[in-house]
């Protein structure tokens, strides 16, 4: 009994233990399954509800592809004309490790691709590198030809190529990019950072202040003049007189930005902004302006120009001496070096320097280009230096600087730093006053008189009031000046009653021809060129002609200038 009971008890115990173990195992397994399903459920929720499915990935493709294709922003002029853009091209590269027969590949590729030398290509492919460019920026036809060769280890990379649809028209201003699309000159270099398409979305097209119509007129007239006057080079600048916007800038000879091989160093040199030259008589604009503004002399005052000035070994002479007392307008109109030197002497070195500083002639121009000249200023500013600077020798500045300083002289006396960007997006231009409005008015009259009656006569355009100043400087050579090599320039503004544009033109070593009566001075080459440019851009800008004859206003000046035999100074003519 007891044994049977014991057995049953034992059996019960054994069964309940087995059952307990079974239940435990079942629970553990159940828990594991539960955990598994739970993980799957969470993952499902994550994939379908929370996490990103496929759609955003697909939707993002377009944006990514677009920015990858653009690479670099377009550049347009002020009217939206496309000046520089990127076009998609293909480049062919090779992985030498995957090529089966290098000799065969070299033979086939050099037969299809012009400009790829056999020896050069063989050397390139015979390397341990896994990536070798064969040729960049193929034409679609070349790409098809290479594709048809079916060479293993040769593949294409789609790239963008910088294209300048306007060709040579803007070569110096726009500059160019290297094979990898980095700006290496001009606007391309100056605005390189903003032109590159960043990862954070597409940026904007760069809109410049340039006007391609003005640029075309300037370039055409200059290249015609270059040929006609047999000059070695020519440069020109057109500025908006009232806000410093650069409308056109040309330097000849130029280069084709679409052809990277067409780059001689002479052609690449921007004579308008990078060349610093002794400008000669155009500087008399600034000498007269500072003399009048500082109250050194009034418009009816003058200086004795009967004798050349001797300073030690140095002689200051006039090109066409009048050998008498000259009034200020006469000094300006006859371009008397002696008179300008006397005027500068009275201004004094200190004041002259301060004024030149204010006109922006003592430091590099603010224009947004890498090619900007640093003016060559005298180390010692003695009396002789002061006098020679009075007529534009002893200081070398760029044509651009002369143009922007002239804009300040004629626009009412406010200097605006020249810029390549359109000002209207930036709340107008910020200028600083350099001379009084009254002085500016007097200077406008004198510059007008110079074109109406003086050395700038050939710049006259019927119907327009043009004012300007010629300059013909001897170019410095070894140990002094070369007498036969001139740098002739003409700086003009128009219309003179309320100047809107400043046009500056310069010829490097022009020759006298039969047409110019064998003269090589600015009045015979730079001045007529400016006249022709203004006759063409004036109507484009909608500037009305013939708004009143200004002979009457000029008459007063002509009377002052027309001293003739008058020895003394008459009182009473006030400006």
């Amino acid at each position: 009994m007891t044994g049977g009971e014991d057995n049953r008890v034992r059996l019960d115990v054994a069964m309940s233990r087995a059952l307990g173990i079974g239940r435990h195992r079942l629970m553990i397994i159940g828990a594991l399954f539960m955990l598994g399903f739970f993980v799957i459920a969470i993952r499902l929720v994550d994939l379908t509800v929370i996490g990103d499915g496929f759609e955003p990935r697909f939707a993002g493709v377009a944006e990514a592809a677009r920015s990858a294709r653009l690479d670099r922003h377009d550049i347009t002029d002020r009217n939206g004309t496309l000046l520089a853009t990127n076009l998609p091209t293909a480049s062919v590269y090779a992985d030498p490790g995957r090529m089966l027969n290098i000799d065969e590949a070299v033979a086939k590729l050099s037969a299809v691709l012009p400009g790829v030398g056999r020896a050069e290509l063989a050397a390139k492919l015979d390397s341990k590198r896994r990536f070798v460019w064969i040729k960049r920026n193929l034409t679609p036809r070349q790409q098809a030809d290479v594709n048809r060769l079916g060479l293993p280890g040769v593949a294409f990379q789609s790239e963008a190529r910088r294209v300048y649809p306007q060709g040579r028209l803007f070569s110096h201003v726009l500059g160019s990019v290297d094979i990898d699309g980095r700006g290496i000159a001009g606007v391309e270099q100056a605005f390189d950072d903003s032109l590159r398409v960043g990862r954070d979305g597409p940026g904007e097209t760069l809109r410049l202040s340039l006007d391609s119509r003005f640029q075309y007129v300037l370039r055409q007239e200059l290249s015609e003049g270059l040929a006609r006057f047999g000059a070695a080079g020519a440069a020109g600048v057109i500025l908006d007189a009232n806000n410093g916007e650069l409308l056109a800038m040309v330097s000849l000879p130029d280069f084709d930005p679409n052809d990277p091989r067409d780059r001689t160093s002479a052609a690449r040199f921007n004579q308008a902004s990078l060349g610093a030259y002794e400008m000669g008589s155009t500087f008399k604009i600034f000498t007269a302006a500072m003399a009048l503004d500082a109250g050194v002399v009034s418009l009816d005052g003058g200086y004795d120009a009967s004798e050349p000035i001797r300073m030690g070994w140095f002689l200051i002479r006039d090109y066409k001496p009048k050998k008498r007392w000259l009034s200020v307008p006469e000094i300006f109109v006859y371009s008397s070096n002696i008179g300008a030197a006397r005027m500068a002497e009275k201004i004094g070195a200190e004041r002259q320097r301060a004024y030149l500083e204010r006109f922006g002639l003592m430091r590099p121009s603010d224009l947004e280009l890498p090619e900007i000249a640093t003016p060559l200023t005298p180390e010692r500013w003695g009396e002789l230096t002061t006098m020679t600077i009075g007529y534009g020798h002893g200081i070398a500045v760029s044509l651009l600087q002369v143009a922007s300083a002239t804009a300040a002289v004629v626009n009412g006396g406010v200097f605006y730093p020249p810029t390549l960007l359109s000002r209207d997006g930036m709340g107008g231009a910020i200028g600083r006053r350099v001379i009084s409005a009254r002085t500016s008015e007097q200077m406008r009259l004198m510059m007008r008189l110079n074109v109406a009656e003086g050395t700038g006569k050939q710049a006259e355009v019927p119907g327009y009031r043009i004012g300007g100043k010629t300059g013909s400087a001897d170019k410095p050579g070894k140990g002094g000046y070369r007498s036969r090599a001139l740098l002739s320039s003409f700086v003009a503004a128009f219309p003179m009653n309320a100047p809107r544009y400043v046009v500056a033109v310069m010829y490097d070593e022009p020759q006298g021809t039969a047409e110019t009566s064998n003269y090589a001075t600015a009045g015979w080459n730079a001045a007529p060129t400016v006249g022709r440019i203004i006759a063409r851009i004036g109507p484009m800008a909608g500037i009305a002609s013939g708004d009143g004859d200004d002979r009457e206003a000029l008459g007063l000046l002509i009377r002052i200038a027309d001293h003739g035999d008058r020895k003394g100074k008459e009182p009473g003519v006030a400006f």
Binding site: F54, E55, F58, A59, V61, A62, A65, R66, R69, T81, L82, L83, T85, N86, L87, P88, V163, P165, Q166, G167, L169, S212, R213, Y216, Q220, V461, P462, G463, Y464, A535, R536, G538, P539, M540, G542, I543, A544, S545, G546, D547
Partner: protein, 98 residues
């Protein structure tokens, strides 16, 4: 568990599975459509880009000047042809004549 309830579950699972299957393919189709449209968009944009460059190239001032000289009886404006409003003779009141 009643057999009818089991059958109901099986049918429900089957319907949902096939529904999900259909949905997946429908979505995939839409995705293909989207990427095709995007490719088309990029291609068109690229074409527009190229055409703009060509337009600018064809509108080079020297080319236009040549075409004008060849095909049109127009010459560049001269300063005399541009005037201010004040220069125009206005009709005298009443007469209708300048």
């Amino acid at each position: 568990m009643k057999p009818s309830l089991t059958i109901l579950w099986i049918v429900l699972v089957g319907v949902m599975a096939s529904g999900l299957f259909q949905l997946k393919y429908a979505v995939q189709e839409r995705e293909d459509e989207l990427s095709r449209l995007n490719r088309e968009l990029i291609a068109s944009e690229q074409a527009v880009h190229v055409l703009l460059a060509e337009w600018s190239y064809l509108n080079r001032p020297d080319r236009l000047a040549g075409l004008t000289a060849r095909h049109l009886e127009l010459s560049p404006m001269t300063p005399e042809q541009v005037g201010a409003m004040g220069m125009a003779a206005l009709p005298v009141a009443g007469t209708g004549r300048p």
